[in-house]
């Protein structure tokens, strides 16, 4: 339901029904731990439900930080920038508390949700990688952006520090050994997903290119005849000239 809803929304043919279908699909996935409690796979939906609140807080914070700055449209009050920064770091703090404090997503019989240990290392690795890349991109393509690049590098470093802490110190329901094991798997996951997506896009490009290449070259239109030239000249004459002042 989620992909169909997104397709309908993006295509512009049924934006509102598309949004409703996608949202309904997402809600059904999130409540799957109640609707199909016997399925182990519903732990994935349970995890998405537990991270929903900090993710919304993160998105709210980013919105405030971006639109509280110098933007030409939709500018918010400058205080939104500070409240946004607070919300972003609060959401990162909540993710840390979910690992080291009693907020850890609990699955059956008091055990940790098995996908939590998949989510956290992937989130930390991918965010540190993206922040580092953005920081270098600002220096390469931007002008006098060293201080802005420094902020992104600091965020990347913060993510590295959190990852190192999780590799050294045990979590509330998980051990540092488990986290280190899953860090490997997360790196494999990230590289695998990137390779898979790139291959699919490559196959798509090859299919489109082959089709476009097989099409006949469009024929050149014949030169205008005398009647058409006369018509164009009359149009041009009607637009040139005018009375002198």
């Amino acid at each position: 339901m989620v992909p169909i809803g997104i397709w309908l929304t993006i295509s512009g043919k049924a934006k509102l029904p598309g949004k409703i279908i996608a949202a309904t699909g997402l809600i059904l996935v999130m409540i799957s731990s109640w609707t199909v409690p016997d399925s182990d796979s519903s732990a994935g939906g349970h995890l998405i439900l537990t991270i929903f609140a900090p993710t919304i807080l993160l998105a709210y914070g980013i919105h405030g930080m971006v639109f509280g700055g110098n933007v030409p449209v939709g500018r918010l009050d400058p205080s939104a920038r500070w409240s946004g920064t607070f919300a972003v770091f609060a959401s990162i703090g909540i993710f840390c508390l979910m690992h080291w404090y009693s907020f850890t997503p609990v699955w059956r019989d008091g055990t940790v949700n098995p996908y939590w240990i998949v989510f956290l290392p992937t989130f930390l690795l991918f965010s540190t990688s993206l922040c580092s890349m953005s920081s270098v991109a600002l220096i390469i393509y931007g002008e006098n952006r060293s201080s802005d690049a420094g902020k992104l590098a600091t965020l990347s470093l913060l993510m590295i520090v959190i990852t190192l802490a999780a590799m050294i110190f045990d979590g509330y329901l998980t051990t540092a050994d488990q986290f280190r094991d899953y860090l490997w798997l997360s790196a494999a996951d990230i590289f695998g997903t990137m390779v898979g997506i790139s291959t699919a896009i490559g196959a798509f490009a090859i299919v489109i290119w082959s089709y476009e290449k097989s099409l006949p070259i469009p024929e050149s239109s014949p030169p205008p005849n005398a009647e058409e030239i006369e018509h164009v000249v009359s149009l041009a004459r009607s637009h040139i000239g005018g009375e002198e002042e």
């Binding site: 993710t55 980013i62 971006v66 920038r81 991109a137 802005d148 965020l155 590295i160 695998g192 097989s214």
Partner: protein, 150 residues
């Protein structure tokens, strides 16, 4: 052109460096390689290829109106997707090649989809943070005066 190439290399290096550093620290702490990581990599490649292929087929269907909905690209992409599914089926069916802690082919495929949903969500949240923070850094600076009115 040479400068553009080198900047791309720098960007890729900047993206890979933190991950490789953390994995290197992990190796030094654990003193061994994780045996399941190849399986995870293979499953992630195949699952993301199939899911992304499905999304692209959907786009092909919805965006083909302006071209009188030709069937050739649609069939071509469906064929590419079928090859991906066939490879996934063949490799997961082989004992201990891509089969993780699951009972069989169907259980592994379902597990792969849920795993991709979770890791995809993690990557999406990380992207919101990194891209949003980048834009916040860009818009945070006072606007420069390009010229003053006389």
């Amino acid at each position: 052109m040479k400068q553009a190439n080198s900047s791309w290399k720098l960007l890729v290096f900047a993206a890979l460096l933190p991950i490789l550093t953390l994995v290197a620290i992990d190796v030094s702490l654990n003193n061994n390689f994780h045996p399941e990581s190849f399986k995870r990599f293979g499953n992630a490649v195949l699952t993301s290829y199939i899911i992304m292929g499905l999304i692209l087929i959907g786009n092909l269907f919805f965006y083909a109106d302006s071209r009188h909905r030709p069937s050739a690209p649609f069939v071509g992409m469906a064929f590419a997707l079928a090859i991906g599914m066939l490879i996934a089926w063949a490799l997961i069916s082989q004992d201990d090649l891509l089969l993780e802690a699951n009972s069989g082919l169907r259980a592994q495929m379902l597990s792969n989809i849920v795993h991709l949903l979770v890791s995809g969500t993690a990557m999406m949240v990380a992207s919101i943070l990194a891209i949003g923070y980048t834009f916040a850094a860009i818009t945070g600076r006072e606007r420069r005066i390009l010229f003053e009115e006389e």
